[in-house]
C-alpha cells in the first residue's frame, strides 16, 4: 500500500517488524499475526516517531535561539562542539545527565520529583495532537486544537506544585507569579482562538489549516494573531514576560532548587512549550504546511515539502520571539497582570467581534473567500 501518512508508515514498520520476528522464530508467526498486536505496536512506533521528532526539534530550537541571540548580541553563540556548535546542546544535556540530582532536606518528596516529570510529560503530550504536515496525524480528533490548549494550560499547576514543594521562598514566589501570569493570559489566548474557530468553523487543526487555502488567517485576523502571540509569549515565560524566573530578583524563580536532570526536564519542557506555541501560531494564522496557491508548484511538490515549509515557518515565528527577547527588558508583575486583564482581554474581545463580522460578510475584497463559506 502507498504510504501517505505517518500512521501508515508506523503501521508498515510494525507489521514488518512482527513479520521479521515471525520469520526468525517460526512458532511465533501465528500468534504474532494478530490485528490488535499490530495495532498496538504501530501505536508505539507512532509515539516513538513523534517523541523523536519533537525532541530533536526542541534541541535544534535551543541551538537556533543560542545562535540567533548570539548574533543579536554581536557574538557568535555556541561554536565549539560540532559544526557551528550544533552538538553543544547534546553536550550540555549529557553534562546535566551526569550531574547528581539533589533535593533540599525540607523539600516534599512527592511534589519535588513529580512536578518536573509531569511538566515534561504534559509538554510532550501536546505533540500528539499537533500536526506538522498533512497526514502527520490521522485527523481523527475533531477537537484537537482544544485538546492542545488544554494540555498547554496544565503547566501552571505542575510549576506551582514543584515550586511549593521545593520549600524555598524564591521558588514559592516564582510559582505564585507563574500561576497568576498563566491564568491571566489563558483568557485572551482562548478568546483569540475563538476568533479563528468562528472563521474556520472547526476545532480540528487539520480543518483549520485546510480553511486557509485561499488566504492565511493572519491578514483578516491580525488582531487575534497579535493577542495570541503576546499571550503565547507570556505562557512560554519568555522575556519580556519571564517574571516567574526573573533571575535578577528571584535567582531562578520556581526552579531555583532544581539541578541536574530535573532542571534539564524544566529546560526541555520550556522549549517544548515554546516549540508548541510557535507551531500553534503557524497552524492557526500562518497557513500551517500550505503555501499560497499562486506560488509555483515546484515549491510544494518535492518530497516532504509540507514538513519543510512548516518547520521553516515555525522557526521564523520562534525567531521573532528571540528577537523580542534580545531587545526588550522585563516588565513588572503588576504591570504584566494589568496588561493581561485590562488590555489583552478587551483586545481579544474586539478580535472576536471582528471575526464575527468576517463570518457575516463571508468574503473579503482583497483576500477572497474561505472555502467553507461558499468560496
Amino acid at each position: 500500500m502507498a504510504i501517505t501518512t505517518l500512521w501508515d508508515a508506523a503501521y508498515t514498520l510494525a507489521t514488518g517488524l512482527l513479520w521479521l520476528v515471525g520469520r526468525i522464530i517460526p512458532p511465533l508467526a501465528g500468534p504474532l499475526a494478530n490485528g490488535d498486536l499490530i495495532w498496538g505496536l504501530s501505536a508505539l512506533v507512532f509515539g516513538a516517531i513523534l517523541l523523536g521528532a519533537s525532541m530533536i526539534n526542541t534541541i535544534m530550537l535551543i541551538w537556533f535561539e543560542r545562535k540567533l541571540l548570539g548574533r543579536f548580541m554581536d557574538r557568535r553563540g555556541a561554536m565549539h562542539v560540532g559544526y557551528a556548535g550544533l552538538l553543544q546542546n547534546f553536550a550540555d544535556g549529557l553534562k546535566l545527565f551526569r550531574k547528581n540530582t539533589f533535593k533540599p532536606r525540607e523539600a516534599d518528596n512527592l511534589g519535588f520529583y513529580s512536578g518536573p516529570t509531569a511538566y515534561m510529560v504534559t509538554s510532550l503530550l501536546m505533540f500528539g495532537v499537533l500536526p506538522i504536515s498533512s497526514g502527520w496525524s490521522d485527523g481523527s480528533l475533531p477537537l484537537s486544537m482544544l485538546l492542545a490548549l488544554v494540555i498547554f494550560s496544565f503547566a501552571p499547576l505542575f510549576i506551582f506544585i514543584s515550586a511549593w514543594s521545593s520549600n524555598n521562598k524564591y521558588s514559592l514566589m516564582g510559582g505564585m507569579r507563574s500561576a497568576a501570569q498563566m491564568i491571566a493570559y489563558e483568557v485572551p489566548i482562548l478568546l483569540a482562538v475563538v476568533a479563528v474557530v468562528l472563521v474556520s468553523g472547526s476545532f480540528d487543526l487539520n480543518t483549520i489549516v485546510a480553511e486557509q487555502q485561499n488566504y492565511w488567517f493572519w491578514g483578516p485576523l491580525l488582531l487575534a494573531m497579535l493577542v495570541f502571540s503576546i499571550g503565547m509569549l507570556a505562557e512560554m515565560e519568555r522575556i519580556p514576560f519571564d517574571l516567574p524566573e526573573a533571575e535578577a530578583e528571584l535567582v531562578e524563580g520556581w526552579n531555583t532548587e532544581y539541578g541536574g536532570m530535573l532542571f534539564a526536564y524544566f529546560m526541555l519542557a520550556d522549549y517544548l512549550r515554546a516549540l508548541a506555541g510557535s507551531i500553534l501560531i503557524v497552524l492557526l494564522f500562518l497557513g500551517g504546511w500550505t503555501l499560497p496557491t499562486y506560488v509555483p508548484s515546484i515549491l510544494t511538490s518535492f518530497p516532504l515539502a509540507g514538513i519543510f515549509w512548516f518547520l521553516l515557518k515555525t522557526y521564523a515565528v520562534f525567531g521573532v520571539f528571540v528577537w523580542v527577547r534580545a531587545s526588550l527588558p522585563r516588565v513588572r508583575t503588576d504591570q504584566l497582570l494589568r496588561i493581561g486583564w485590562m488590555r489583552m482581554i478587551p483586545l481579544s474581545l474586539v478580535a472576536v467581534l471582528l471575526a464575527a463580522a468576517l463570518v457575516l460578510v463571508k468574503c473579503l475584497p482583497v483576500f477572497g473567500c474561505i472555502p467553507s463559506m461558499g468560496g
Partner: protein, 381 residues
C-alpha cells in the same frame, strides 16, 4: 502569602558582589530592608599600615575593582600631601585622563549590569564589548587591565607609549555613537520607562542627610561635584559640565551617568590635546629615598627614618565614578603610613537602602540597587 523575610544575598544575582540585602516582604511589597555588608572585608586600611607608601597602591586597585584608577589617584594624592611631595604636571594630566577613562569604563560596566538586571540582555554584551576597548588602552600604558598599579607617590610609573593619544582618540570616536545607541535601547523603550520612572526616589535633602553622593545626589538636582567644587588634579583647567537630573529616581540616575560619560569623553579629549603638546617627566625627582627602595629599611636605618623624616597628614577627596571618595593618610615618620582611612561612597549609598527601597515591589529591587551602582570591594574595603 503572609509577611516574610528573605535574604537577597550574599550569593544572589542582584547583589553584584558579596553582600546581603534582607528584605521584609508582604507578597510582592517591600515593608523593610536591612542591608548587611562586610562579607568582603579584607582589612585594607589595616594592611596599609604595614606597607610602604607605594605598596599601598596595589591594594587600591583591589578596593574598587571597576574603578582602580580613581582609587589609586585618591590615595596617591593624600600620600603626596602627607609626605610633602609634588607630582610633575604631566603626571597630573595623565592621572586625570586615567580617571576619566576609568569613569567611562566603570559607567559602561554599570550600564551593562543595570540593564541585565532589567532583563535586557543584548546591551549587557554591547557594554562589555565597548568597555574592553578602554581596558585595552589601559593595558597599553599600564600593563594591567583591571589592577593597574600605575600611579606612584610623586607621579606615575611610566609615560604614555608611542601613538597612545591617537589610539585613545580612535576609541573615543567609537564610543560616542555607542552612547547614543545605548540611550536609544533604554530611553527608547516604553517598558524601560515604565520600569524605572518614579522608582527608588531619594530627594536631595535626604541624600545630604544620609551622606549619599555621586550620581545619586546629582540625579536629585544637586550640582555637587568635587571636580567642580574643590578641583583637584587638573580639573580646573578643563571644561566640562556637571550632569544633573531632577527626577531623583532610577531614570534620573541613568540619565546622569549617561551624561557623565559624554562629559568624560570631553575631558579626555582635552587631556589628550594637552598631553600631545607637553612632553616632560612623569615622576618627581625629589622623592624620599626609600619610596623607590626594593627593601624595607630595618634596624638603625628605620629608626633614623622614623625620627628624622618630616611628619604630616594628607587628606584628599576624589569624585570617584560611584560618588565622593575620601582618603586620610597620617605620616608619623618612617616608611609606612601610620594610619590610612578611606571613605567609601558606596558604603553610604548602600546604607541608605531603607530610604529608597521601602514601599516598592520585590521586582523593583534589582533596578533600584542597580542604579546605586554597588561595588562591594570599596564598601567593605
Amino acid at each position: 502569602m503572609s509577611e516574610m523575610w528573605i535574604n537577597m544575598g550574599p550569593q544572589h544575582p542582584m547583589t553584584h558582589g558579596l553582600w546581603n540585602l534582607r528584605v521584609h516582604i508582604d507578597g510582592e511589597r517591600i515593608l523593610d530592608v536591612d542591608p548587611e555588608m562586610g562579607y568582603l572585608h579584607r582589612g585594607i586600611e589595616k594592611i596599609s599600615e604595614d606597607r610602604h607608601y607605594n605598596e599601598v597602591i596595589t591594594l587600591m586597585d583591589r578596593t574598587c575593582y571597576v574603578a582602580g584608577m580613581a582609587w589609586e589617584h585618591l590615595y596617591v594624592q593624600a600620600a603626596e600631601q602627607a609626605l610633602g611631595v609634588q607630582p610633575p604636571e604631566r603626571a597630573d594630566w595623565i592621572r586625570m585622563m586615567s580617571d576619566e577613562f576609568q569613569r567611562l569604563a566603570s559607567h559602561i560596566m554599570w550600564y551593562a549590569a543595570f540593564v541585565q538586571d532589567l532583563g535586557l540582555m543584548s546591551p549587557f554584551l554591547y557594554g562589555m564589548r565597548d568597555r574592553d576597548l578602554i581596558l585595552d588602552l589601559f593595558q597599553s600604558y599600564t600593563g594591567g587591565r583591571l589592577t593597574y598599579e600605575y600611579m606612584r607617590v610623586g607621579g606615575v610609573r611610566n609615560d604614555l607609549p608611542e601613538g597612545f593619544t591617537g589610539r585613545a582618540r580612535q576609541v573615543l570616536d567609537w564610543m560616542e555613537p555607542r552612547l547614543v545607541e545605548y540611550d536609544r535601547l533604554c530611553m527608547g523603550s516604553d517598558i524601560f520607562r515604565r520600569r524605572c520612572d518614579d522608582l527608588g526616589v531619594l530627594k536631595a535633602d535626604e541624600c545630604v542627610r544620609l551622606g549619599v553622593t555621586g550620581p545619586m545626589l546629582r540625579s536629585a538636582g544637586s550640582k555637587r561635584d568635587i571636580r567642580k567644587d574643590r578641583p583637584y588634579s587638573r580639573y580646573a583647567q578643563v571644561e566640562f559640565d556637571v550632569a544633573t537630573a531632577d527626577s531623583a529616581d532610577v531614570t534620573g540616575r541613568y540619565l546622569v551617568r549617561m551624561e557623565e560619560m559624554r562629559q568624560s569623553i570631553r575631558i579626555v579629549r582635552q587631556a589628550l590635546d594637552w598631553l600631545d603638546s607637553h612632553p616632560g617627566p612623569v615622576l618627581a625627582d625629589r622623592l624620599p629615598r626609600w619610596l623607590g627602595a626594593p627593601y624595607a629599611p630595618i634596624g638603625r636605618e628605620a629608626y633614623l627614618l622614623k625620627r628624622n623624616y618630616p611628619k604630616g597628614v594628607g587628606l584628599s577627596a576624589v569624585e570617584e565614578p560611584h560618588g565622593e571618595a575620601c582618603a586620610y593618610v597620617v605620616n608619623e615618620g618612617g616608611e609606612h603610613p601610620y594610619r590610612v582611612k578611606f571613605r567609601s561612597p558606596v558604603f553610604a549609598n548602600l546604607s541608605a537602602a531603607k530610604s529608597y527601597l521601602v514601599g516598592y515591589h520585590v521586582a523593583d529591587i534589582p533596578p533600584i540597587m542597580g542604579s546605586v551602582d554597588v561595588c562591594v570591594g570599596e564598601v567593605d574595603r
